[in-house]
Symmetry: D2
Subunit: 254 residues, 4 copies
């Protein structure tokens, strides 16, 4: 994160499970977005401003005005991926390519926006045992900014299993790999650049377990926000407006 620049974060939450399932309401009485917001604020302090947006709001809370003021968007969705409007997806997609960061959390692997950016099915193995199983998250790139201050390993006592093969493009940088009690492995911390924007996928987090209350998990999400915000302002927009410039155009006036 650049010194002297405040990062504007929008935490997006589908916020559906929390409304209709008692088990989830108990763990996340104020919505899953609340501990996410708390963690980002605790870790990044005055360097960020954070707002929340949810599916139920008009345009899912992701109007042009909101996105104009968003440097990094975090995304949690699961039960209602299909209810996200295609217009909003295209809008967010364009913003990411123009430099807005995206932190995709857990089941966001099947969100329209993540699949749109990856170009693949983003399918994976999964198992929902009652009670879940232990996930152990290992850092495989300890110098990477998203691993700063994160213990080796992070132990998540109860979690839904997500396993390989995870159908994503090979990440530009792979930072975390998880194992599960059942023996499966998962590329759980993946960095991508698309257009001018950075994308971080992070596996941990399920509505049935209090994963987002865990400080180490919050730390990774905050790190991911800071990393996604650390992009250059484009010196070259990926548009065709420069098409058919005259030869040696860049020498003129130089």
């Amino acid at each position: 994160m650049k010194a002297g620049r405040q990062v504007r974060v929008t935490v997006w939450n589908e916020n559906v499970h929390e409304q209709r399932e008692e088990s989830v309401k108990k763990i996340y009485p104020r919505g899953m977005h609340t501990p996410i917001v708390d963690g980002v604020r605790r870790e990044l302090g005055g360097d960020v401003t954070v707002r929340v947006a949810t599916l139920a709001e008009p345009e899912h809370g992701l109007t042009d005005e909101v996105l104009d003021e968003t440097d990094v968007l975090t995304w949690w969705g699961h039960a209602a991926h299909d209810q996200v409007s295609d217009d909003v997806v295209e809008r967010v997609h364009a913003r990411v390519l123009a430099g807005m960061g995206l932190v995709a959390l857990h089941s966001a692997h099947k969100s329209k926006i993540f699949m749109r950016l990856m170009g693949t099915t983003c399918n994976l193995r999964w198992r929902s045992d009652p009670g879940g199983e232990r996930e152990v998250v290992w850092t495989v790139n300890p110098g990477h900014p998203t691993a700063a201050g994160v213990p080796q390993p992070i132990v998540i006592p109860h979690q839904e299993m997500y396993g390989e093969f995870f159908d994503i493009p090979q990440p530009d940088d792979l930072v975390f790999i998880s194992s599960f009690e059942g023996g499966e492995v998962f590329r759980s911390g993946c960095c991508f650049t698309r257009g001018l924007g950075r994308i971080f996928y992070f596996g941990p987090g399920d509505q049935e377990f209090p994963v987002y209350h865990q400080p180490e998990v919050q730390r990774v999400i905050a790190n991911a926000v800071a990393w996604c915000a650390d992009v250059a302002r484009a010196n070259d927009e990926p548009t065709t407006r420069t098409g058919n410039a005259q030869r040696n155009w860049y020498l003129d006036g130089d």
Copy 2:
């Protein structure tokens, strides 16, 4: 290319410029696909069978039956990207993720299928000088199979300029970089894996210049076909059908 396995290639051509522009008809009287087919046959001989499909055919010649018999699809399009039906695009997309190779040629950077797989705008700089300008194609990964038998550099006397920034995900392997007389550079030979399938983007080739008649260019395309065909038959389909398997499922019956 695996010993003992014949690669089935479908050469797809939009075949629009050749029908309506005299200048193009002169260079490619039998369509741009013809020298592409000739080159693949000359270089790969009995290791391949080649068929042609074009936009004007029903389902653009890319029916399920044809794709069932296609290991690698080459794609040239430019004037009529929008006329390619979304259904066909989704069908081809699914096939690539399931292991079919795709060789995207020149202006195919803006084809629906390539943009769908990349997840980005795939925009680039370009310049169409009458007479074109010299493109020099440099190998930056000389051990890569797509560079086999290719001179260092390939000189293309007259070509449309394609330049950076080219808005694609960072390639898994970068094999060729071109320079142009005007001083621009271009990542002109890019390898990607998406799902189980391999994708090769190759920059040279324009309807206004006889680029596809050049044996070195044909050689690269043939190499790309062979490289795209060299994928393993999946041991793990990227579907969710294995979701919620019991813990230690892989030990049962092992």
Copy 3:
């Protein structure tokens, strides 16, 4: 592997544990190299010729003459890394950069040649429980040639634990990730290109357990040999002999 070209493989084995430890002799009475050779022959058949070389031979069996006739070298070492002469290491290093493949097995992560090529410490976590622990090897790149015909997952009943952080450069392609009973994970199948040569690191295999007798493990090693052999003959040697060529040298005589 190219049709019509026979790959010449040299299986190198330190062959020290087998001579001095009864427990190892029992598992590998004819040396660890024997099941490796058997596996490569069974899987690749007439496409390969295989020879063996060991530490005790003059120049460790890796004379210029032998290397002249080697397309791919497999390497197992552990107890005697320091006894490998620096001259031989430099000789092998130069060959890899010139296009010879290298398959580095298990404890070869600390061999002089592997560290020389990687430029890092190649250190890792490890644990040698008596009896070992279960390793489960997952394919994370199912279209990659090194995964061909490999079950998802491979189960290795007893194995020494190798875990992250494994101090290697980020692989060009990551194909396998292992988990261990203790919960650790390991990037156990890693592809690198250095110069014109391909390198494959494969984690499984320890002198105390019969891992190299397992057909799935042999299959991966054979796949790796074939993949390492699939390099282009250089069109551009990485030497300085072309230094100071005149401008437009590549147009002369074209």
Copy 4:
């Protein structure tokens, strides 16, 4: 660069050409390191402290004490690569793996430390025309922090030609590609991570031309310094000291 943390930079210069060649002395009367220092200070201001070290000093100015206080080291060498002591090279190598950044400039591609980290020959094409030739540096990753504030393209009027094939491992991120008047191309801005440390190679800069006086070139070097400094403090040292920990060690006392 992290807010609130001052980056300590050591600018290392061989400083040999400047002493013995009039042509160089004229361009760089106070040594090539001076405009490099000036540029880093101008761009990064109070966020950095900068010191200079040169070959002629005891231990080349790179004692343990100096390295203890160095977050990022920039390196320029050419005429005297061989005079750099192997001890110093090993010391710097260990520091990079432990997290110190390295910015390797121009002919530093053949420095012992850069070749040691890369594991390859690092050879390239080159041409020293009297008067040099124009280099045009294109950004191919416009969101990358090293491209921040850099014009598209940078034009360097007179420069020695460096061209492909450049025998380096494929960079983790490729940010700049140059073309030269003679038509050659060069991967001139390359990012690598080795161990915990970041390495940036930047092509422009030659003793015969005033390249390091150019503000855009200084800007890239300053960006590279900031990017190299942006690493996490290790949560997992790449040492074997954790070898043979008991199973589930990470659960004990957690």
